[in-house]
């Protein structure tokens, strides 16, 4: 068992987790900003389709990318920014596949029962989660001064995310008419489609009985 380094405390691991979440959220919001910023329906749909493709590719590539970071540098972005590292319990870096097993499959196991595997960090004496126990790893502190950098990174990421979110809201307000129009159209289509006798848009706005315009009485009789 590793005795040279200090095991990372739960608050440090939580901090690195938050940084990773904020990083993911930032990229997600960037894509959303591009989609929401489109003023025309066609451009919005194009950017939505591109976003869907990017999200799918990102979901496939991210586990491999994180595993590469862990095997090469000892941690994912959150861990690197908080000065912590993932190593084998006997010492030494993880191999690529062990890192993949830990981060992808191990996280799945930890999250199975109300995320009990993650909460186990508070119970275990060495602050190991279930994904650490099954992959024989431990999270250690490499640089105590990096804690400050971790806190600053988290604060900066939080600010950036808030800024991007407010930009999204502002863009949404600018294009609200477009979204409301689309939503109205789509709901109308769904509603009319399930009716027995659906009406076309022209029919929906047609009066059943056109009221007759009454004759205007002669208020002023002709002169003479």
């Amino acid at each position: 068992m590793n005795t040279q380094h200090q095991n990372a405390r739960p608050y440090l691991r939580f901090l690195s987790f938050l940084i990773n979440i904020l990083l993911d959220l930032f990229f997600f919001q960037l894509v959303l900003l591009v989609v929401v910023g489109q003023g025309r329906l066609e451009n919005m749909l194009n950017s939505l389709l591109t976003a869907a493709i990017l999200w799918l590719f990102f979901s496939v590539i991210k586990p491999f990318f994180n595993s590469l970071l862990i095997s090469r540098f000892g941690g994912d972005p959150g861990k690197l920014l908080t000065g912590t590292a993932i190593i084998r319990s006997q010492g030494g870096n993880l191999s690529f596949w062990r890192a993949f097993f830990r981060n992808f499959l191990g996280y799945t196991v930890s999250g199975l029962l109300v995320w009990l595997g993650f909460v186990w960090i508070l119970i275990d004496k060495q602050h190991r989660a279930w994904h650490d126990l099954i992959s024989d790893t431990v999270v250690i502190v490499r640089s105590k001064s990096a804690l400050l950098m971790g806190i600053i990174s988290m604060a900066l990421l939080l600010l950036v995310n808030v800024f991007v979110f407010s930009s999204i809201l502002s863009q949404y307000q600018n294009n609200k008419t477009l979204y409301e129009g689309v939503w109205q159209d789509v709901s109308e289509v769904i509603r009319e489609t399930f009716k027995e006798n659906p009406q076309t848009p022209d029919e929906q706005f047609q009066f059943e009985d056109t009221p007759e315009i009454p004759d205007i009485p002669d208020v002023f009789p002709p002169a003479g």
Partner: protein, 331 residues
């Protein structure tokens, strides 16, 4: 014939003493598709009278009549997107699905290997935890995955073989024009084929049970494990069949019992909360929806735990049978 009472009580004691085994049981219960419950079919459709029960067939025609400005533009956009973009979307989706499937297979193989080795330690009164069982699971992943592929290929080959034999004989009778023999073969052949298929499936399940334990505990390679498992299954067909039946009856009984308890403790209160809204045809209040969501979450997690417990009982029983069969063979 095995002493099933002893099997079940030994398995139960091992599970009680080594709760870490539940982690592997949870993985298998969730990803193998089996669960402890007898099935949870909650029908809420009675109260929602306005929602059509059948999807009308003429939706495309009706929809095309009522399209507005934006929905027309949506259709136009759809047809204007290049084919390469749709191909790219399809490819990325396919990659995502392949990765998810691969992860599922690897996770299951790991959990099976670790659980089998965990029970072996438990029955030998050794300490069982994640750190001393997971490495065994990791080292078994490759061979268990290869075995699963071999087993699938053999099962598919057999199924195709049965169908081809049936088809060839059917065609022979069809070509010779003997109508009566053709009809008799169609019925008899189908019945024989069905029973052959069922017996084959049962045999393959038995082979799977023995082969997994041969791979994990006796360090066999996949193909020799398949062959040895086949000979063990043939030689101990009835004890293995009865053990399988006992396991399934156990699983169903626990599942049904737990479902009855859930209906009483969660289902009935949930219905009482929802009934005023169902009878009035209105949307339930937010507090009721939150309570129901929490109740559903509790039900899901408890159901998963019960499923894991059933998986553990089954694996414990299989491990004990495997050891008895091996000892009998060696003696």
């Amino acid at each position: 014939m095995p002493d099933f009472g002893k099997y079940i009580s030994n398995s139960y004691e091992a599970i009680k003493k080594n709760k870490w085994l539940f982690v592997y049981g949870l993985v298998i219960a969730l990803f193998a598709g089996g669960s402890g419950s007898g099935g949870s079919n909650i029908d809420l459709s009675d109260g929602f009278k306005n929602i059509p029960k059948e999807i009308p067939e003429d939706i495309p025609e009706k929809t095309s009549l009522v399209l507005g400005t934006y929905t027309s533009a949506l259709l136009d956009w759809f047809s204007s997107v290049p084919v390469t973009t749709w191909l790219l979307l399809g490819l990325s989706g396919l990659l995502f699905v392949i990765l998810a499937l691969a992860v599922r297979i690897v996770l299951l193989s790991w959990a099976k290997g670790a659980l089998i080795s965990g029970f072996e330690k438990a029955f030998n009164n050794e300490e069982v935890d994640l750190t001393n069982t997971s490495p065994k699971g990791i080292s078994s992943i490759k061979n268990l995955v290869i075995f699963a592929i071999i087993a699938s290929l053999v099962a598919t080959g057999l199924l195709l073989g049965i169908f081809l034999v049936w088809l060839i004989i059917f065609l022979i009778f069809h070509v010779t024009g003997i109508e009566e023999l053709r009809i008799i073969w169609m019925i008899l052949g189908s019945i024989m084929g069905f029973f052959t298929f069922v017996v084959a499936i049962i045999l393959f399940a038995m082979i799977g049970v023995y082969a997994e334990r041969l791979i994990v505990l006796e360090k066999y390679s996949p193909w020799p494990a398949w062959k040895k498992a086949f000979s063990l299954s043939k030689g101990n067909f009835f004890p293995t069949l009865v053990t399988g039946l006992v396991n399934n009856v156990l699983g169903c009984s626990i599942g049904c019992a737990s479902m009855i308890v859930f209906v009483i403790l969660l289902g009935i209160p949930g219905f009482i909360i929802l009934y005023p809204s169902i009878s009035n045809g209105t949307t339930p209040p937010l507090s009721a929806i939150i309570i129901l969501m929490v109740a559903f979450m509790i039900f899901s997690y408890l159901n998963l735990l019960i499923g894991a417990f059933v998986v553990l009982l089954k694996y414990g029983n299989w491990n004990q049978l495997f050891r008895e069969v091996l000892i009998k063979q060696e003696s």
